[in-house]
Amino acid sequence: MLRLDALTKTYKTGDQALKAVTLAVPSGQVLALIGPSGAGKSTLIRCINRLVEPSSGAVMLGDVDLTKLGAGALRRERRRMGMIFQEYALVERLTVMENVLSGRLGYVGFWRSLTRRFPQSDVDEAFRLLDRVGLLHMADKRADELSGGQRQRVGICRALIQNPALLLVDEPTASLDPKTSRQIMRLICELCAERGLAAIINIHDVALAQMFVARVIGLRLGEVVFDGPPDGLTPDRLTEIYGEEDWEATIDALDEEDEIEAAE
């Protein structure tokens, strides 16, 4: 459904963030993108919806090459790609409802959006989504009154109300505590399964990634160095992605966590 073809990004400073990344994501597949800071994870997902302009290569969403689109056509295609951010990126001074409805901006005209007269079907869907993530009672609160986990749930609603085919998720748990992180990851993966969405999740918590996804991509210095199932991440593989370190502890910790989860 999504295909990256030799996608390259070179910044003006000469830094090559992505080196001819080629990758195919079938419909409904949730994959985790891991790698050290500066490996190009954020750049990769921003090149897909062109918040960052790729230097060369192609991004095929279905049959459309996103890199070739003009401004209007790009806006229409962006509606099919929901994005979830590390620091939630909610508009702090708007209410939860306005934040969720802002996911419909691509479908609604300027004046209607300015006066907040969204179609009733959009409002119904916003209420359904807020109910699904357990925030129905918060609909009228301002976004800056919410806790981190609640904000990220609103961010998820905003992405889903776009009715996307693909979710681009940038470090969804980096600002959250371990328990909330798991809840958010579980929620994202459940919602993807319910709706048959494909998702690319940037994440630097390897154990968390292994817990929830079926496929892991390892990125190092802008190149794909690992592509496989989570069990394939052996200490050798992790060393290849991140560099030399004692990985046994990470893998042991993961095993223990699994046992605790099973016991619960």
Binding site: L51, R75, M81, M83, E87, L105, Y107, S113
Partner: protein, 271 residues
């Protein structure tokens, strides 16, 4: 080289010997220049007038008190004019300042090379000329009266409001804008949802702050004939009607205190 080796181990100093000496000479030079300037000013002052000043001030004060309270009947309209000049001038300035600010802010300007310098020029040009001078110019162009005062206040305030607003625009959180862009929103929708909510508190704060300043500026516009209470002040000063002058000053003080109170309340309510 703030770390010196000594027999008892390394010693840390904030400055090296050379730097300390240079600073000492800097201070010496500064004090010398200050004393020289003091001497020059002192030589050019007619000290007789200065020694005389307390007596004159006491004389003026005794003539000015008590204020001529019944004169208040002729001040209601001028002070109302003054407040209107400030309010309408501020509104007009804000309407013109908003587009200028968006054109001047690095993250929203359509062209950093061609349009941004023009916007910055507008900001500098309107800011650098005092409203009294604008009023003098405008009275020559559109004639004396309240309208000239409103336009003078409006032009003078564009630069101030636009500068503070564009700084607020440049400080917004870019990820919120990114998030709205990623939904497929158009350029204007990104502005309405991603940028405007973030700068709304700054905008309201700037508006009442400038209104507060303009109340004070518009009280003197009458001195050059641009309407408001300054006309009465000038008339009273010219006829040496000190009791009227003192009443006018009291009325101006009251208006300024009230405007300060209002703007403090409004700012408190927004933030």
């Amino acid at each position: 080289m703030p770390v010196l080796e000594s027999d008892a181990g390394p010693v840390w100093r904030k400055r090296t010997k050379g730097q300390a000496l240079a600073r000492w000479f800097g201070w010496l030079l500064g004090v010398a220049i200050f004393l020289w300037c003091w001497q020059r000013i002192s030589d050019k002052t007619t000290w007789f007038f200065v020694w005389d000043a307390p007596d004159i001030a006491a004389d003026v004060l005794s003539r000015a008190t008590p204020p001529r309270w019944e004169y208040i009947d002729r001040l209601w309209w001028p002070i109302w004019d003054t407040i209107n000049i400030a309010t309408l001038g501020t509104i007009a300035a804000l309407i013109m300042a908003v587009p200028v600010a968006f054109l001047a802010a690095r993250n929203t300007t359509p062209s950093a090379i061609f349009i941004r310098p023009i916007a910055l020029l507008i900001i500098v040009a309107t800011r650098s000329i005092n409203s009294l001078i604008w009023a003098l110019l405008l009275i020559a162009i559109i004639g004396p009266g309240v309208f000239a005062g409103i336009v003078a206040i409006a032009i003078r305030s564009i630069g101030f409001c636009a500068k503070l607003l564009y700084e607020a625009i440049e400080e917004i959180d870019a990820t919120q804008v990114e998030a709205i862009t990623a939904t497929g929103a158009s350029r204007w929708q990104v502005m309405a949802y991603g940028i405007v909510p973030q700068i709304a508190p700054a905008f309201a704060g700037i508006a009442v702050f400038r209104w507060d300043i303009n109340i004070r500026e518009s009280t003197v516009l009458g001195l050059v004939g641009a309407g408001g209470i300054g006309l009465q002040l000038q008339g009273s000063l010219n006829t040496l009607a000190w009791p009227q002058v003192s009443l006018i000053l009291l009325v101006i003080l009251l208006a300024v205190v009230i405007s300060e109170w209002v703007s403090a309340k409004v700012r408190g309510a927004i933030i």
